[in-house]
Symmetry: C2
Subunit: 289 residues, 2 copies
């Protein structure tokens, strides 16, 4: 039986897996993200052990997803120097003569939730990862939102919290964009301590919730999705989502009619397998098409 | 020959028109928006004079565009009391046994530009009207962005300009959302004088441009469209778009790769006929489908 291949290429590790047509993982391996000459041979070695029909890739970015472009399938202007302008799809295609799907890591997480998780009954959803950075992927009418390129929602402009005017932010491009205010490193820079040591009742979490709630509101206003999903390390703070719900309701102020915030703004449901499942599903689509 | 019908239903006037398959207007009429019992009979009277094959409607809102809904085709929670919960499509359908397309006024303006105007060579675009209020419509992959409902981009959360912290905003729901800061009434409230009397070199225009530039940036980050179009009365200030371009470039700070701002952020190109042309095009689609 031919298997589906999946590569979830993150900034710290590559998770590679093979799975079956029910999108169940049969075998997986985790490979540290160092430099392409070290990481990629291990990726290739893993898939050579299996008879694969197609591969779905969800990659850290920015990436080139425009099929008409000369650099389609490349990781482009990433701050990870060794991966800058790296021909990801080309490298895979050189070894494996199979169809390859290529999109952002947030899009594959979204797609996993869409196929098997919390967004399985909807047609439109947006997925944010809030961790070292902030990324977002969107689906409308069952298709990824994609125009000139993929979305970069993490860098949206938001209103500064009244108690946060002294914080300089930490985005090298925009200082106080969403990522510069609410990513893991931004939270730690503001607090001066590790995020796990910030007390649950610290005003810092109200500040962070305010920014995430604005991201959710701007998403609801611009895309009107049926679900907004927040994943990533920062959301592992179990009290945070509830604070986001409260601030979201306050910000929206009943302007747009929405389901209750706790049904509308949710966490991923697939125990961090959403990315790999999304990759398998994209690999499956490549064969169906 | 059967004709296409178009209704551009705005807050101050309804423009009704009939056109041919090349989307050219053959006859049009402008009817004041008073109350439904006064306005709608005149609309109906106009179309009765013609042999129409279908009608496309672009309406002020919020409106219900969900075809599964019991109130599909209604104007819903508008502040214009007489039009609240008004069955717009039903009223038309009762008289004319033809297919009717129904969407927001900004979507029809966008669609006009998409069919015949400045967005004619692209697949994705966003259109804002900045006037008494601020509305936005989006198209991705040639289709309107629509999930739970239509977008309401005018109410997005934005960062306050450093010289604008004393202004309370004027959105009754969100105070200092985009509309509360950059709509015509907000501009006049801030200045204390009529917008046409605000000098071109007044800092007020830098402040307004800052907010519109943030709307453009958040749009580029969330939807990655190929064009962003700003229409509406406020944009008739001819110097304003240039100020928006400069602030947009500064805000993006070369983070996302985009065409030059003056090619990317543009005005509508159809001399205020974009809405009617969009309605005609939607009417045409109803027959083709």
């Amino acid at each position: 039986m031919k298997l589906l291949g999946a590569i979830e290429a993150g900034g710290t590790k590559f998770v590679c897996a093979v799975g079956d047509d029910s999108l169940s993982v049969i075998e997986r391996v985790s490979i540290p993200t160092t430099v392409p000459t070290e990481t990629m041979p291990k990726v290739i070695e893993f898939f050579k052990k299996h008879d694969i029909a197609s591969i779905g890739i969800g990659s850290f970015g920015p990436i080139d997803i425009n099929k008409e472009s000369d650099t389609y399938g490349f990781i482009t202007s990433t701050p990870k120097t060794a991966w800058k302008n790296y021909d990801f799809v080309g490298t895979i295609k050189k070894v494996f003569d199979v169809p390859v799907a290529f999109t952002t890591d947030v899009n594959t997480s979204l797609y996993g939730e869409f196929k098997k998780g919390i967004a399985k009954d909807v047609n439109s959803a947006v997925y944010y990862t809030i961790g070292t950075g902030i990324g977002g992927g969107a689906m409308v009418g069952g298709k990824f939102v994609q125009g000139l390129s993929h979305p970069e929602m993490g860098h949206m402009s938001v209103k500064i919290h009244e108690d946060d005017h002294d914080f300089a932010g930490n985005c090298p491009f925009h200082a106080t964009c969403l990522e510069g205010l609410a990513s893991g490193p931004a939270i730690e820079k503001r607090a001066g301590i590790s995020a796990k040591d910030i007390k649950e009742d610290s005003n810092d979490w109200n500040i962070v919730a305010y920014y995430i709630a604005q991201a959710a509101l701007n998403t609801a206003l611009m895309l009107s999705p049926e679900k907004i999903i927040f994943g990533g390390g920062v959301m592992h703070q179990t009290h945070l989502l509830q604070k986001v719900h409260a601030q979201f309701e306050a910000l929206n102020n009943n302007y747009i009619a929405l389901p209750p915030a706790e049904k509308y703004i949710v966490k991923p449901s697939l125990n961090d397998d959403q990315g790999i499942i999304g990759c398998l599903a994209l690999a499956q689509n490549e064969i169906k098409e």
